[in-house]
Symmetry: C2
Subunit: 423 residues, 2 copies
């Protein structure tokens, strides 16, 4: 950088990593541009609650401009990044090119279908608010279709919900759909008994919640079954279609299939010409820079590194935030003339997952807890980490309401029919 | 009806009229079927706040099944009514035919473009939750486009908002957009000054709020202008296009045009083969039955009658509700063997409209009030009339938040691009 113009930092993506970096750079002597294709930050850990009618989209999202409004050196740009011009140091969008001296790539991830992208229309996954409202629409319409279906076989298919993938998202979706069917909806239909709906969680591995300790996995397994969820372990899904799923030798008719089985990083590796792992993530250096590019940092789900005592850092919000802080610190030090690289070290605070309305599992390492108490800790932690007082108040009110009355206020079917919706 | 089977009542539409009728019939000795093409009741008086990012869709809507859940003789059907088989007494939907002994048509209204339906893509109107989120998207995207536009003329077009129609909806939309531009957003953009946005309300008649007394109209006019809204009276709009509007001799470049100028009843008149007025409404008899059909009642925006001391009943929520109660009473009396017709009499409780965040006009006839006090009465009345304690709490919290902080929590752009969105 020359000494005359203010250095420019471009941040691609306003998820947990990008937003944390932008906030930490707010008082640095640089001009920051945050580029995102959405106008809002999404609190992804609670997306499953929007998909299952517990929360509204606006309760778990906040406009990026509004989050960053007080920071005069930060500007926000709504735009779809299509690539980088590395030679001229430009971020490219269809409308304009944004120059940078430092680039932070925090472009997140989307779903992976392991070579079966044709399954996506039949087994949608959950990454954005639009995904969540469209999954909600599918789930609620399925009950409506069952209500007016006279053919018993078809009716069963409309009342069969399959969730593929037994990680935290799959477990949380399965638990919430079970509560919707068995607790919230039974009094609202006249021709079907929603308590007879089938909720099936399919996990290819030997246990659900594989990142937790085996005893917490086992507890979650029992707790889910107590809620009414069937769990199928050890069999990968070999087909998803408009008719249902095939796993092992079994073919199951199901109108709603949800995909929670894998993620794939944004195309940033291709934009950077950097090598990527099987999930499309860029293997970054210990200081989180891209290989051979000391001015480019890659963080969050777009990157992979072994900064967790030699193990890969997990793809969760706290990890992305820590990386955002680290990168902001590095940039601030470099702006002050200190170019020495400092390695990122991940501090794991724990794994959390909730199972329905009254149970959760928490593994803080030094402290493991499950059941009702864990559910309260889970709830308070999520309210605490939500962005904005307004969203915290609103989510707290919604949860209190669901907790006390059992009714879900967000059972709305909106939007027109989507592509490949079941018929 | 024969004495053996329970009489059936079909109610088409779960707006204010249909829902009130269904609730009032809940303990009657009849089977009630409520048919609506949406799964939710929408509180239309607050739709403009969803469109202008003050409230979320779920705060002003409630699932119809959930509203009617405790009533065992009432069932809800999600379906699009396509017509009636009057000879066989059936309501027709693509999936099934619903028999009735009594039919209540409360199918509402949609927008009217006075023979210019080709304007609709450029000047959307506000009738459903989807309309509201799509208008919100247009408004917010317009600021985003202005922020990255370098051409001054185009930038002005992106920052020009035109509202066609000076009734309550037009006035409320104009006031809310002015607040969004002049109060909420100024700190959030770096390249544009949202305070320079132009908000223009065009009314073909001689004054805004024509259903109010002239002094309240004049007050609202002044209050809107104080908020920064320009008002153009006495000139009808003669063109709406992707470029903007033409009114009188003027051609104004504007990327966001909103239509609040007219409504048209649902096609129920055609389904019934009944004569309709210019707005498509069926002229019903004094007991609210359709001409020549003593078993069919038509209420709310689908009907017109002169039950307000010889004047037409206004198309507002309290009028629809009163008609719903009257029809339910008539059906209950008939079920009890009393076939004597009893005329409906409309009791007008008043007109209300709000102008931005601190002013409103209220005309109760015996009591007129305007300004700050009126705004509080307006707010409390709307919270009171919302359906469900949950929505009341939530709207109260949202309003309190906007009132205290000036920030709007619902500034979310969701969904993909819509047909004919400005570019």
């Amino acid at each position: 950088m020359n000494g005359k113009t203010t250095p420019r930092v471009a941040i691609v993506g306003a998820g947990f990593g990008g937003l944390t970096a932008a906030r930490a750079l707010a008082r640095a002597p640089a001009r920051i541009t945050v580029i995102d294709r959405k106008n809002h930050h999404t609190f992804q850990p609670l997306l499953y609650q929007v998909a299952t009618a517990g929360l509204s989209p606006s309760e778990i999202a906040a406009p990026i401009r509004s989050i960053l409004r007080g920071r005069d050196n930060v500007e926000v740009l709504l735009g779809e990044v299509t690539g980088f011009d590395l030679a001229r140091r430009l971020v490219e969008t269809p409308e304009q090119k944004i120059p940078y001296d430092y680039l932070v790539v925090a472009a997140g991830a989307s779903h992976a279908y392991f070579g079966h992208d044709d399954w996506e229309p039949y087994a949608p996954a959950l990454k954005t608010l639009e995904d969540a409202t469209s999954i909600r629409r599918r789930i609620l319409l399925s009950f409506e279709r069952a209500e007016r279906e006279s053919d018993e076989t078809l009716r069963r298919a409309w009342l069969t919900f399959v969730i593929v993938g037994g990680g935290a998202t799959g477990v949380e979706l399965a638990g919430a759909i079970a509560e919707l069917a068995y607790v919230t909806l039974p009094d609202e239909f006249r021709h079907i008994d929603t308590r007879k709906a089938r909720v099936l969680l399919i996990e290819a591995g030997p246990r659900i919640l594989p990142t937790f300790t085996p005893d917490l996995s086992a507890y979650a397994h029992t707790a889910l079954e107590r809620l009414g969820v069937e769990i199928q372990l050890g069999l990968p899904v070999s087909e998803c279609s408009a008719q249902g799923v095939v796993f092992g030798e079994q073919r199951l008719a199901a109108k709603v299939i949800l995909w929670a089985a894998g993620v794939r990083a944004s195309p940033a590796a291709a934009w950077l010409g950097a090598p990527a792992d099987g999930a499309g993530r860029i293997q970054v250096k210990t200081d989180l820079t891209a290989p051979g590019r000391s001015d480019i940092f890659v963080i969050g789900d777009t990157a992979t590194n072994d900064a967790w005592h030699g193990k890969p850092v997990p793809g969760i919000a706290p990890a992305a935030k820590q990386q955002g802080v680290h990168v902001a610190d590095t940039i601030k030090r470099r702006l002050a003339g200190d170019d020495s690289p400092r390695p990122f070290r991940y501090r794991h605070s724990g794994n959390l997952a909730t199972i329905g309305r009254r149970a959760a599992v928490i593994d803080f390492g030094w402290f493991k807890v499950r059941g009702y108490i864990a559910w309260w800790i889970w709830g308070l932690a999520h309210i605490y980490f939500l962005i904005g007082v307004r969203n915290r108040l609103s989510v707290a009110l919604s949860w209190l309401w669901i907790y006390l009355t059992g009714t879900r206020s967000a059972c709305l079917i909106t939007q027109g029919p989507q592509r490949s919706e079941p018929r």
